[in-house]
Structures are given as C-alpha cells and as structure tokens.
C-alpha cells in the first residue's frame, strides 16, 4: 500500500499530471526596474531585477556583453525549521543554476559593460521553489524591458511511489524517489535547466520530461496573462481595436 499515492490520487488530492494552484503578478516593487511575484502551492516568491546598470569595480565588466548576477535567498521564516539568514551552499548552487537557466533567453550583447542583477527572495518555501523562482524571474526581466529571445518557464517532475508525477510538493520532494526540475524557452523549445536527483529508467526520464514540459506550457499561459494584465489592461478593459 503506497503512502504518497493512493489510486492515482496524491496526498494533496491531485492527479499525477496536475499542477498545484498558482498565481502570478508583475510589477509588485516600486524601486526595482522590474519585478514579479509567484505563488505555487504554498511557495511565495518575489523577484526583483535591477539593470542594466554600471558594474563596480569596472574591471569586472565585459566589453561586449552584460554580466548577469543572480541571488536566490530564503527568508529565515520561509521554511519549517528557521533558516539562518546567511547564504547556504544550497542557495549558492541554486543561484548559479537559476542564472544559467535565464541567461540563454537574454540578448546579453545588447548591454555591453553593464550588469543585470536578479534577486529572488523565497518568503515561503514548499518544494519546487527554484522552478517557481525562474518563472517569476523571467517576468521580472520582461517587466524591466530587457530584450529577450523568449520568456523562460520552469516546472519540476518527479517519481513518487513508482509513479511519475508533475510539480512535486514539499512532502513529495522529501520522501519521493526522484526530482527533476526543468526550464524551457517555450517558443524556441530550448531547455535551459535540467537537474536530476534520484534514479529513473530511460522510459521514466522521458515521461518526466514530457510531464514537466506540459506543466511549463500551462505556466507560460499564466506568464503571458500576467504581462498582458500589467501592460495592456486598460486596452483590454476598453475592448478596443487598436487604431
């Protein structure tokens, strides 16, 4: 008898291919050049983008493109057991992985000798926070008006009690057999993040990838809606045909 899945129903009532409830909002911080907020399950993550801006000291800048800096940080009250404020090794690795998931989407050559800073703060964590963070960060970059090839959207698949499922919750992440976060540029169909933690057969790996990409496409629709809401709301409200 399985603990995490019973008759195809997971601990929180979802089926294998269902995302947790989510909400996205663009333009939530006044000082940042771009910002966004995401809730996914109990995850609450806020992202700010500052840039393009000058690099100090100047010798750290690159002559033909921008430097991208990313900081993923969890607030001490965001986890079940309080986390000390100082960055952990996990946060440092995740910061790098998120940066490398977003960089392929940015036209870095348009901003020589500058830096673009991306700050992600996890206010409440619930499994899959790096994916949710990437999804929000990409909105924050668009909000800042940074030229991009595409948005980036991310989602994790995993194996729980022998079944491949989409969007692991905290308990599934901790007690499941495998966890696979995936990020993709949806229009280009290019994968920019892939991590795997656990053992999967080749067949399971393919299933997981398919599940994750399907989840990404749903979240992409939500990203698009959030940007439309923020920038074109007045037009949509007035239901105007643009002249």
């Amino acid at each position: 008898m399985s603990k995490l899945i019973n008759d195809g129903i997971r601990v929180d009532g979802r089926r294998a291919d269902e995302l947790r409830p989510y909400r996205l909002e663009v333009g939530v911080l006044k000082n940042a050049d771009g910002s966004a907020y995401i809730e996914l399950g109990k995850n609450k993550i806020i992202v700010a983008v500052y840039g393009p801006k000058e690099v100090h000291p100047k010798h750290l800048s690159l002559p033909d493109r921008c430097v991208l800096r990313c900081r993923y940080h969890m607030s001490p009250f965001s986890t079940d057991v309080r986390k000390t404020p100082a960055p952990s090794r996990r946060e440092i690795e995740i910061s790098k992985v998120i940066r490398e998931a977003l960089e392929p989407a940015i036209l870095v050559g348009e901003y020589p000798r500058t830096a673009i800073d991306i700050f992600l703060e996890v206010l409440q964590s619930d499994g899959g926070s790096r994916c949710a963070g990437i999804t929000a960060a990409s909105l924050a970059l668009a909000d800042a008006g940074i030229s991009m090839y595409d948005l980036v959207v991310a989602c994790a698949a995993g194996k729980v009690d022998g079944t491949m499922v989409l969007d692991l919750s905290d308990i599934e992440d901790k007690e499941g057999e495998a966890d696979m976060p995936v990020a993709v540029m949806p229009n280009l169909n290019v994968i920019t993040l892939l991590q795997l933690d656990g053992i999967l057969t080749h067949e399971e790996f393919k299933q997981g990838l398919d599940l994750a990409l399907a989840g990404c496409m749903k979240l992409y629709e939500a990203q698009r809606k959030a940007l439309m809401e923020r920038y074109f709301k007045t037009a949509l409200n007035q239901q105007q045909e643009v002249e």
Partner: protein
C-alpha cells in the same frame, strides 16, 4: 492607403511572417518575426517593429537629456542621466580648451544636486556617454518641477512633430522641457503645473491606446479641433 497592423506582444512572441524589413526590437528567424520586448508590434510597408512599453534609457548622440550632477573631480562632472551609465561633462567643454585642472573649482558652475539640460555628443558600445551644455536652452535648470516617466513613453509625450507637447503647453500655460531620458521639467504657475503633471501621467499610462490626444484635450478642457 498602406495598412499598418498592430498587436500587443511579449518577448518571444511571433508577430508575423513574410517579406518585411527588420526594424527595432524584433528578431528574424527564417521568414518569421519575433518580438524581444513587451510592447506594441507594428507591421506594414515600412517593416516590422515593436514599440516597447517598458525599458531603460540607452543614450543616442544628439539626444536632449536632463541630468543630475552627482560627483565631480578637478576636470569633469559626473552626471546621472537615468541610464545604465553615468555621463560625463568635461570642464574643458564648459570653460574652453585652455582650461587646466585647478584653475577653477568646478563646484562654482555646477554643484552636486544641480539639474542640467544637456545634449549627448558621444556614446557607443565602448565608452560612457559624453555631454555638452553649449547651445541654446542648455545648462543649469534653475526653476520648475521635475517629473520622471518611463523613457519608452517620451515619443508619445512629444507627439507627431511636437503635437502632444504643444497641446499640454497651450492647455496649461506651462513650458515643458522633455529629456529623451524620461526626465521632464515643467515651468509655470502652480495651478498650471498640477494640470500639466496630470496630463503627463495620463500619457504615460495610456501611451499605447488610441484617441490619446483627444483624452488629453478633454482633460485640460481644450476645444477639440476637427
């Protein structure tokens, strides 16, 4: 009459397909055109472009900008022009070619916190923007209210051949100096300034919508001309 089609786009979105000229904020792959910014895509005879609704100010030579002095050395002022780079105004360009450092204290001419209207005389991918204040209407700004808008909305605030700025000026009795960097100085009587600021904020909010000129005119109580 050549038709221009428009649609709202986000980065990565397909705008159209076909034989068009490639203009700003658009990428071409094979025969397809994709947006790289959030904005209003326009495509027609002229080509395909996206008018962005958000984004930084990237200086261009000959731009009029309104900047704030933030630092100075013996021979140059550093100016914040609301861009990703600090701009520089050399003492030589103000005092003349024979200027030597230490000859004059720069602070007497422009101090930290002063606002100046200046023109970008040089900028490219390899160096910081250079400014000049030689020219009519340039130099220290001594009065008025300062307001900042997204630099992407400046073209709409100026309007075709200055039509929008003239509408606001005549409707409020104020004079507007609009920097391409999104910084605007409004000079006039207090009541006029309040109305001008409201009109500017309306343009910023609804830059992407039709009938904006009419809306501004009606907000300012101007009779709309045919």
């Amino acid at each position: 009459m050549p038709e221009v089609k428009r649609k709202y786009v986000i980065p990565g979105e397909l705008i159209t397909e076909g034989n068009y000229r490639l203009l700003a904020n658009v990428l071409k792959r094979e025969n397809k055109f994709y947006a790289t910014r959030v904005g209003l895509a326009e495509y027609g005879q002229e080509g395909v472009r996206v008018i962005p609704l958000t984004g930084p100010y990237i200086p261009r030579v000959d731009d009029l900008v309104i900047g704030k002095i933030v630092d100075y050395s013996a021979f140059v002022w550093e100016v914040d022009i609301n861009s990703c780079f600090l701009a520089y105004l050399s003492a030589k360009s103000v005092y003349g070619k024979n200027f030597t450092p230490g000859q004059e204290s720069l602070v007497k001419k422009f101090d930290i916190g002063d606002l100046i209207a200046a023109v970008v005389t040089a900028f490219d991918r390899t160096r910081d923007p250079i400014l000049s204040v030689s020219g009519p209407g340039l130099g220290k700004i001594t009065k008025g209210e300062v307001i900042k808008i997204s630099p992407t909305k400046v073209p709409r605030l100026i309007g075709k051949k200055g039509s929008m700025i003239r509408t606001i000026e005549s409707g409020t009795g104020c004079k507007l100096t609009i920097g391409q960097n999104g910084v605007i100085v409004v000079v006039g009587r207090p009541e006029g300034i309040i109305r001008a600021v409201r009109a500017i904020r309306l343009v910023e909010e609804e830059a992407h919508l039709a009938d904006l000129t009419q809306k501004v005119q009606s907000m300012l109580g101007i009779n709309q001309s045919e």
